[in-house]
Structures are given as C-alpha cells and as structure tokens.
C-alpha cells in the first residue's frame, strides 16, 4: 500500500507558495476578535509538489478506469469518455464563468443549456426539460416532488408510489424522500412486470409507477402500452428511470410510450466520465402538463436572447445551488453534437448488438434465466454453481485476474446470484471475444479448480477486502499515532 499522504508530511514543506506582501504589517487581531479565531491546530499534510504528484500518480496506477479496460457493468453504461469533451469543458469561456455574472455576459452558457434541453426533449419525446439535478437520484427526487405537486394541483393527495421488485434501490429511496410510501409490484417469470399484479396494486391512492425500460434484466417491457393504460386510468403518472436509455436512442422515445416523467443520466448515456463516483448529471423531462412544476430558474429564449425565469409559482423549487453540473452539461452537449441523429441511433444499435452477441457467446455456459432477445444488457445466474460452493461474487472476483472489471453482481434482486452484463457500443468485437473467453475459462475452473475463484483476485495489490471488519472496527480517517 502507498503510504498515506499524512505519513509523508514533513513540517515546513510546501506544494505551492503564495505572494504574501499584502500580509506585511497586517494584524489578524485588528480585524478579527480572538473569539472568532481558530484555536485547534490545522494538521493538513505538508508535502512538496514532486512528492504530491508521485503520491497521486501512484494511487492512480492502483486503480482501474474505462481507459484501462472493459467495464461490463450492467445498468451503469461505462462507455468510452471522448477526450474532446474534456478539452472543451476546460475552455475558459466555460470553466471560468461565474454563475451570478450578468446574463448579458453569460449568453453562451445559457444558449448551451437551452440547446441541450431542446435536444433531450427531441430524444425523449418529453415536452419540458430541467438540467438542474446533479445526478440520477436527485433527478428522481425532482420527479417525485413534481408528481406530488401535480396531484396537489389536481386538488388531491396521493400517498403511494408503485415500484417493481427489479428496480434500482434509488427509486424507493427517492420516492420515500418525497413523502410517498412504496408499494412493490412483482415481476413475472419472463422477467417482465406482472400486469395482473399491477392492476391489483394500482388504485386511487397511487401517485405514480416508477419503471425502468428496458428493465434491469435488459428486457423491453413489451406490454408497456397496457401498463400505461392501467396507470393512467387510475389517474397516476408514469415515471421512467432513464438508467437504460442507451438502448433507446433514435429507436423509440419515452414520451411516445406514454411516460409523463423521465430522468436521464448524462454520465451513462451521453459519455460524460463517471469520475470515480461523480460528478454526473440527472436532467428531468416532463410532459407538457407538468412543465409548470419544473424546478426554477427556467431558461427561456426571447428575441434571440436567453434569460432565467424564477417567477414560477407552481414550481417545486430549486434543487441545486445554481444551474446544475454545468461542466457535465458541456461534455454531454459536445458528445451529442459530434454524433448527431444518425450517430446516436448507431450508439443504441451497437449497444444492443454487442449485448446479444455476448449473450450468445455465454448462454451455453452460464444460464440466462429469462432467455430472449435482450436490449443493451443481460443477466446470467450463477445459482447452479452454489452446490460447488461458488457464488456470483467469486466469478466477479476471478474476472479481475483476467484483467476485466466485474459485471454488476447480485442485482437485480429477483435473480439469485445475478451477474448483470452491459457491453456498451464503444467496445470492439475483440474485447467482447476476450471477455467471453475469460468467462469460459472461469466456467472450466468452477468444475476443475474452484479454489482459483475462491482465492481471487490474486493479481491486485490486495486480495479480497474484509468488509465485515471495516464496518465493525470503523476506521474512516487517519489519526496520528
């Protein structure tokens, strides 16, 4: 393990120095009474620039990214992050613009936001867009608060949000945060929403159905029109978790399917880097009847000029300190302008092709519980290997030794020992072949040398981490000895 930066600290070393002439003759006490001054020490590390760069460079070398290799992470869409996006976001005219500077001096930023809203509106078939939410979960919260405001606007209170058992955990968490109770609806044995169960649970207390389509098994909800009818007949709204939008670009649109709300993940579908856990961006799209409830400020265009409208009496309010993760919006906009309509539909076509190709290569060796044409991802189950003492987790860890990041493991919850595999369009056929070959090798090892899986990974700087110990003997910060 690389030493902690605190252990490298030597009193008096500097990573940068500042011109301090302005401090000559300056007395803190004259402007700041003692009672306001910090008394406890400030033990930040003291390192030279060279030591600092080596520290972080070494740490980066002990980390895996999309630029290192393939990430078959289901529902995460770990596609390639184009380099021009990074360069453009750093143009001073984007990165050095103050959020409160005059609108006349921010027309480029507002134009970009406005244009990106128009583009996402066309892609999704939703009438209104807000780019303010900072990530998918904040987009969900925004959508749920809009749902709540909409029903209140209709003079009624609805308390319940219906969510399939295959949904991401953020869905129920966001619905709960918006004050709803969560009711689960079952999936049927084909891995699709159970329509009969849905008809039973949707009633006059239902505010919305939160649905992921294609769902987390990578299956398109073929009966979506019937689902929409049931939900709308009850006066409830249809919410789309857009985590899997990478399967739909230019092929079909959530608005045309009948969804009333959708959130996007720009860090999945539109190539902005995941950053090791953010920043992302989670814009929300709504049908025209819900536009009044969108977060303020809303960007508008009048006589060729862009302005911010905060006079929105029915709005749910503000969800971000300023206008959202603008630097991420710049990257997504750059990506879309590079691809255009044909390029975007090629993205989805190739994502679907990749997933079906990889599924074909694996399905004779790993059971695919709901075996039919998939969209951009599919799920295999390792349940059959339990009797050999092997779990999905072990396969995941062994893949690390073959140089691949593991798929999403043990999710969705409705498939025991799930491995959820998503090969984005940016992966070549050779990469898919190499991944399939590794999975086949591992399949042989399950029969012939299961200890290799149980001991995996053995090619990293560390082996399997003891997560139980981490939670029991909490050590979440460095303390000098």
């Amino acid at each position: 393990m690389e030493k902690l930066i605190f252990e490298k600290s030597v009193e008096g070393r500097r990573g940068v120095t500042f011109p301090t002439e302005a401090l000559e003759g300056f007395s803190v006490d004259q402007v700041l009474p003692k009672e306001f001054q910090r008394e406890i020490p400030l033990p930040l590390p003291e390192v030279s620039e060279n030591e600092l760069m080596r520290h972080y460079t070494r740490l980066s070398q002990d980390n895996y990214g999309v630029d290192t290799g393939f990430y078959p992470l289901g529902s995460c869409t770990m596609k390639y992050n184009p380099k021009i996006n990074e360069d453009v976001a750093r143009f001073p005219g984007f990165s050095q613009v103050h959020p409160l500077q005059p609108k006349e001096a921010s027309q480029g930023a507002l134009e970009l936001i406005y244009e990106l809203e128009q583009i996402l509106s066309e892609i999704s078939g939703m009438a209104g867009i807000s780019l303010q939410p900072a990530a998918g979960a904040q987009g969900e919260l925004t959508g749920m608060l809009i749902t709540r405001a909409y029903h209140q606007g209709q003079g009624r209170q609805r308390r319940k949000v219906v969510i399939p058992d295959s949904a991401h955990g953020t869905n129920p968490a966001s619905a709960h945060l918006a004050g709803f109770t969560v009711q689960t609806v079952r999936s049927n044995r084909n891995g699709l929403l159970d329509i009969d169960d849905l008809a039973k649970v949707v009633d006059e207390d239902t505010a919305a159905l939160m649905l992921t389509n294609p769902n987390t098994l990578g299956l398109f909800e073929r009966q979506i029109e019937e689902i929409v009818r049931i939900v709308h007949d009850a006066g409830a709204l249809m919410y789309l978790d857009g985590a899997n939008l990478n399967a739909l670009l230019g092929l079909t649109r959530p608005g045309d399917m009948g969804f009333d709300l959708v959130h996007f993940n720009l860090h999945k579908t539109f190539s902005t880097p995941h950053g090791g856990g953010g920043p992302g961006a989670g814009p929300v799209g709504v049908a025209s009847s819900l536009i009044p409830y969108l977060p303020f400020p809303v960007i508008q265009k009048a006589e060729g000029r862009y302005l911010l409208d905060s006079n929105r009496p029915q709005s749910i309010g503000r969800v971000h300190g300023f206008y959202g993760n603008f630097g991420i919006l710049v990257r997504a906009y750059t990506y879309i302008r590079r691809l255009g309509a044909i390029g975007l539909s090629a993205v989805s076509r190739n994502a679907i092709l990749n997933a079906n190709y990889l599924k074909k290569k694996l399905e004779a060796h790993y059971p695919v519980p709901m075996d039919r044409s998939c969209m951009h991802e599919f799920v295999v189950s390792a349940k059959a290997f339990r009797e050999k003492g092997i779990h999905a987790w072990d396969i995941a860890k062994r893949l690390i030794d073959y140089g691949f990041y593991p798929p999403t493991v043990n999710f969705p919850l409705i498939v025991p020992e799930a491995l959820m595999i998503e090969p984005p369009e940016s992966e070549s056929r050779e990469t898919l072949d190499a991944f399939a070959a590794a999975m086949l090798e591992i399949r042989k090892e399950i029969d012939q040398a299961p200890e290799k899986l149980l001991g995996a990974p053995d090619t990293c700087t560390v082996g399997r981490m003891n997560e139980v110990q981490a939670a029991k003997q909490l050590n979440v910060r460095y303390e000098p000895k």
Partner: protein, 446 residues
C-alpha cells in the same frame, strides 16, 4: 465513427453468429412504438469543426480571467494550483466507476479516505462522508439527518443563509409529512438573537446557520450553539472551507453537523457546477450520515487496504429505508479538493485565509473612505462585505460590466429591503491595483 469501433462487415458477422439476418430481427421494441423517422437534431460535426463551434460558443461568455470580478455569493475565485488539474486528468481516476470492487480501486479509495480525513482536520469534526452534490444540498441533507436523529419535525433556518441554499432546503423538506421549516429573521446583517431565542424550543430538530453568512458576516455562534443544545436540537453549520484557515471551526463551536460548498478548494467556478458538498459530523452519529464512506480494513492475508463501508445505510441495500437517496456524488470534485488541501498544506491554507482577510479589509477601508458610502453591517467579516451606495446598484453594475468589471452582487435582488446594498467579495487573487480600480469606479459614480 471514432466512438463505435465496428465495421459493416463485423456487424454482419456478429448478427450471423447471433443467428439473425438483420438488426431488426433482434429488436424487441414493438413496431407500434418504433420511431419511424430520424431524430430531429443538429447535424453531426467533425472533431475540428466541433472544437471551433464550442470555442465560439464559449466566447459568448465573459470569462473571469479577462474580467475584473468581485463576485462571490457561494462561488469563489481562489487560486487553483497546477497540481490539481494534472491529477484530475489521470484517466485512471476520471474514467473510473464508483469503487465498489475494492481490489481494483485501491487508489481511488485511498484518495477518498484521505479526503475524509482532511475535511475532518479542516472542520474540527470527527467523521466525514465521501461527498454530496453541493453546498446547498449538503445543508438540506443536514436538516434531514437532524430530523432522523432527533425524531423532531421543526427546522429553523437563518435568513442570513444563502438565499439559494434556503430554497433548496425548502424543496428537500417539502415532501415530508408534518415537517415545518421556519425562517429566523436577520438584524444588522446577522441572525436576530432575539428572534432566535423566541423561536427555539424543544420541538426543534435543527438550527441551520451559515458562518460566515451570505453577507460575509460572522454569526454569534457560541450563543446560538448553547441555546439549540439546551433544547436538545442539533446545530447544522454551513461554512466556507477557506475561512477555516483562520476562523474557529464548527468542531470548536460544538456543531453537530458541519457542511459546506467545497468549490473553493480547487474547483473551477464553471458557471455553478460541478461543485462538491462536504458533510461532517460527530462519530456517534455516523450511522445517520448520508453518502458513501470509505473505511480502512485488511484483506484475507492481513494486508492493509480500503473499501466502501457502512453500506447498509445506503439505498442499494436499504431501499426506501436508506439514510439518503444519494448514490453518484461528486467524487472527482472531492479529489480536486483533496489535492488542493494537500498542495497548499497547513501553512498555505492559513496564508490564503489571511490574504482574503487582509485584502478584503483593505478594500473595505478604502471604499468606506469615499463620501456617501456607508457600511450597514458593523460586525466582523471574512472575505465578503456589504456596502450601501447613495445611488442605484443595478444601474451602476450594468455600467461597470460594460467596462469589464463585475463589482459585486445586488442584494436588492434577494432582499427587497436591501436595495442599494452591494455584496463585494475580495480573495487572495485580487491585486491592490485591481481594488483601486473598483474604488475609483465607485468614487466616480458617487
């Protein structure tokens, strides 16, 4: 297409291997739902054309490198050392996923562990999470955590808190049954202690205070802390991380939760985002804390390392019973903050804070020397201060911005009673000639 490595021949071969004759045979979307036209989007641009287009678009914005700006209000121009962007450009970091697979993510996990430690060192708090979205949502999460912890439903927020933060807190609490958010009025640029005393009682879950507040003023934290604790409520403090190089920390004020906007620590102002909310609290409350947490542990052979921990609080395990719905946060911005703090170090952060203090006070004195200019708020401040002008602020700001100078924030836009009040921010970045230029402009207009 450079982002999709597939030739037509490869596509045909792959379809054949799948066992279908065309892509259409593969597609599970019912025909009735298919979009039978191309999306109506602007045409694609080649890479060189795209770069030119984006450069031209960016030039429609005034950039602070070519403008003299005294704008603050939650987004601050502090010097960003060169180390920061060089670390951020390591694509093993920026193209990485959330470090769920610990063995492949030790580097990133260690940077987060170090970041959590530095946030604790800075704030004087005991534990910190890996980050939340921004300062505004951090404050909202603080209110939510206090409601969970105390099982009380009333939240008091000072009117001196950033207006946008107050709006975000209001949005976050709006869905919750029975939760009441009450604003405590201000007096003399600080929260009114009298109004505060009248409002505080044993039904209050949390008091939300910003220090320095939106006007740059320092609140009377000791009195406030004492009173909220006497009633069993929690003190949630939003702080400017740079100020903690010299100001007393939330930990010293006995704050229960310390949050803030981490942008000032090495992140570009970038038209308001991406920024990073930091969130710290007392150890005994860590299980109530929102967001991801990295912990130190060992591997099967006893070698030290890191992994995400306390995940049973999180949405992917606990679903609707999670402490927060947050999952993707602002990891790369938190990394920028960590690299910033490590680069400036103990002495550097204090220098930056002292320079802000010295330069803002020098500017304040010079401006107040101009006849007709007054200082409505007499209390101590850190790097932002308010002046009252004997003429219309909005017209004055418009004139100056045409001259390439953003003089500050028109407070009348947020507080109708503070028409003609201007909020000015001075950091270590301002040269004394630049301050003189502002002073001359105000003089000329007076």
């Amino acid at each position: 297409m450079e982002y999709i490595p597939k030739t037509e021949k490869e596509e045909e071969e792959m379809l054949a291997e799948i066992g279908v004759s065309s892509f259409e045979d593969l597609l599970a979307i019912p025909a009735s739902l298919r979009l039978n036209r191309p999306l109506d989007l602007p045409p694609p641009l080649s890479q060189p054309a795209l770069k030119r287009k984006m450069l031209n678009l960016s030039r429609k914005n005034a950039e602070t490198t070519s403008i003299l700006s005294f704008l603050g209000g939650g987004s601050y121009d502090h010097y960003v050392p060169s180390t920061v962007d060089h670390v951020l450009r390591r694509s093993e970091f920026y193209t990485a996923y959330t470090p769920y697979q610990a063995e492949m993510s030790q580097g990133l996990l260690q940077t987060i562990y170090e970041y959590q430690t530095m946030i604790c060192q800075l704030t004087g708090m005991e534990v910190a999470c890996a980050s939340v979205y921004d300062g505004a949502s951090a404050l909202a999460e603080g209110a939510l955590m206090a409601i969970r912890r105390t099982k009380r439903k009333k939240v008091l927020i000072a009117q001196t808190v950033h207006p946008h933060y107050r709006q975000v807190v209001e949005t976050y609490l709006s869905g919750l049954e029975g939760v009441e958010l009450k604003e405590i009025p201000l007096h003399g640029g600080r929260v009114s202690l009298q109004a505060f005393e009248d409002a505080i009682d044993d039904s209050v879950a949390a008091v939300l205070i910003q220090h320095p507040n939106f006007f740059g003023q320092l609140e009377e934290m000791e009195t406030i802390a004492q009173q909220v604790h006497a009633e069993g409520g929690l003190l949630v403090m939003a702080v400017d991380p740079i100020s903690l190089g010299v100001l007393k920390t939330p930990g010293e004020y006995q704050a229960d939760i310390a949050v803030g906007e981490g942008q000032a620590l090495g992140n570009a102002i970038s038209y308001g985002g991406p920024y990073v909310g930091f969130f710290a609290t007392r150890r005994e409350m860590i299980r109530q804390m929102p967001g991801r947490v990295v912990g130190a542990t060992t591997d099967t052979e006893g070698r030290p390392g890191f992994c995400l921990t306390l995940q049973t609080r999180e949405q992917h395990i606990r679903r609707e019973r999670a402490t927060s719905n947050i999952c993707t946060n602002q990891a790369l911005n938190a990394l920028a903050s960590a690299v910033y703090m490590a680069t400036v170090g103990r002495a550097g952060l204090r220098e930056v804070a002292l320079l802000c203090l010295a330069k803002s006070h020098a500017a304040y004195e010079k401006i107040l020397g101009i006849p007709g200019i007054s200082a409505p708020f007499p209390g101590p401040f850190f790097k932002e201060f308010v002046i009252r002008l004997p003429f219309s602020v909005s017209g004055f700001l418009e004139d100056l911005s045409r001259d390439g100078l953003f003089a500050g924030i028109d407070l009348g836009a947020y507080y109708p009673e503070f028409e003609d009040h201007l909020l000015i921010c001075v950091t270590e970045q301002h040269e004394s000639e630049e301050i003189d230029r502002l002073v001359k402009k105000i003089q000329a207009a007076s």
